[in-house]
């Protein structure tokens, strides 16, 4: 570069049309995960939500409901602790923990490594509990067969409009903690309508892990997914 004007007499400027997804690297691993799960006949379910919406509790409920019918494995994504993994382990199912440290989401490569440490040949259903965060996890395809977003009645019905991506990328929205609907201003109709503005095909189940309301419908939904 010349000192006077900053021009670069000895180089030429080249324009390159790239037109590739920025997260292409992640998608390559997601595709590998998809193939791996397909190969073992495992349905992967990526659970995404804000912190505390009831992901771990729902997994626990599901393990109890499907005991003897369906072999479950769990991968727990957590920023720091292994508390959720310990909760699941107590239920006697294989579980692997991914401690993400700084990263506020799981990516497909992290999941890939964790999957290698699970007995996939002895699992029918693999739950992946993503890091509690309504924004970042949605940007990373993990290659699971199903993406599910949980929205609890205590966090407000405006979340689909505020955080549209996760609702766009999920096939199912589970409205959790329905037992608390009485005490909060949560309008399920509004939440569903706004979610459908960005994803017209999104399915909805309203449930409570506490009372068991809607759990039957949830179990049917994932069993249907596991068969197809």
């Amino acid at each position: 570069m010349c000192q006077e004007c900053g021009c670069s007499p000895d180089t030429t400027r080249k324009l390159l049309d790239v037109r590739r997804k920025v997260l292409e690297d992640n998608d390559v691993w997601a595709e590998r995960n998809r193939e791996m799960l397909r190969g073992y006949g495992v349905l992967g379910i990526n659970l995404m939500s804000s912190p505390g919406s009831g992901k771990t509790t729902l997994i626990e409920r599901t393990i109890d409901a499907l005991r003897g019918r369906c072999r479950i494995g769990v991968i727990e994504g957590d920023l720091e602790t292994d508390r959720d993994a310990r909760r699941i382990r107590q239920r006697g199912v294989p579980v692997r923990q991914i401690t993400t440290g700084q990263a506020c989401h799981l990516d497909a490569f992290m999941l890939h490594e964790a999957m290698h440490n699970l007995p996939l040949d002895r699992i029918d259903l693999l739950f992946v509990e993503n890091v509690g965060n309504l924004v970042c996890p949605a940007a990373y395809d993990l290659g699971t067969g199903m993406n599910v977003v949980l929205l609890s009645t205590t966090e407000g019905d405006d979340k689909p409009a505020k955080y549209p991506l996760v609702f766009r990328r999920s096939e199912l929205m589970v409205i959790t903690k329905s037992d608390l609907l009485q005490g909060v201003d949560f309008d399920p109709r509004l939440a569903v309508q706004e979610a459908r503005a960005v994803n017209p095909l999104i399915q909805v189940i309203v449930l409570s892990s506490r009372t068991g309301e809607g759990i039957g419908e949830w179990i049917e939904y994932i069993e249907r997914g596991a068969k197809s």
């Binding site: 670069s8 000895d10 180089t11 030429t12 400027r13 080249k14 324009l15 390159l16 049309d17 790239v18 037109r19 590739r20 997804k21 920025v22 997260l23 292409e24 690297d25 992640n26 990263a103 506020c104 989401h105 990516d107 924004v135 970042c136 949605a138 940007a139 990373y140 405006d158 689909p160 409009a161 505020k162 955080y163 549209p164 991506l165 996760v166 766009r168 990328r169 509004l190 309508q193 706004e194 503005a197 960005v198 017209p200």
Partner: protein, 115 residues
């Protein structure tokens, strides 16, 4: 905040293309960000300016092309812009609306200095 990890992927990709074309320097990076992508442009810029140092894109200018969010109304058939986090038709108030935009996050173009 995943703009940092997005930028790391972006810089890896840029590095790959720069090497392929033996570029000495990348001067401009053009990225397209859909309004449903969940990416906050100014955070992306901050992350880019932080992480570009010491890479081939050290002097690069990041150009972010973003569209304004728009909704189409199924009731009155008109489009409206969205400013508040509320998916409602600005003309008739209907909630039966669909987002017109996408969630893309694309590296569109690179300007490189090549020998």
């Amino acid at each position: 905040m995943h703009e940092f990890s997005i930028v790391q992927s972006l810089l890896r990709t840029i590095g790959r293309y720069a090497a392929e074309h033996s570029a000495t320097e990348v001067s401009k990076v053009i990225v397209r960000v859909g309004p449903l992508s969940g990416v906050v442009p100014h955070l992306l810029r901050t992350a880019f300016d932080t992480f570009k140092e010491g890479t081939v894109a050290e002097k690069a200018e990041l150009c972010i092309k973003e569209e304004a969010m728009r909704l189409h109304c199924d009731d009155c058939g008109r489009d409206s812009g969205v400013s508040s986090p509320m998916f409602r038709c600005q003309h008739c108030g209907s909630l039966r609306v669909k987002a017109c935009n996408g969630d893309e996050l694309i590296l569109e173009r690179l300007e490189m200095e090549c020998p």
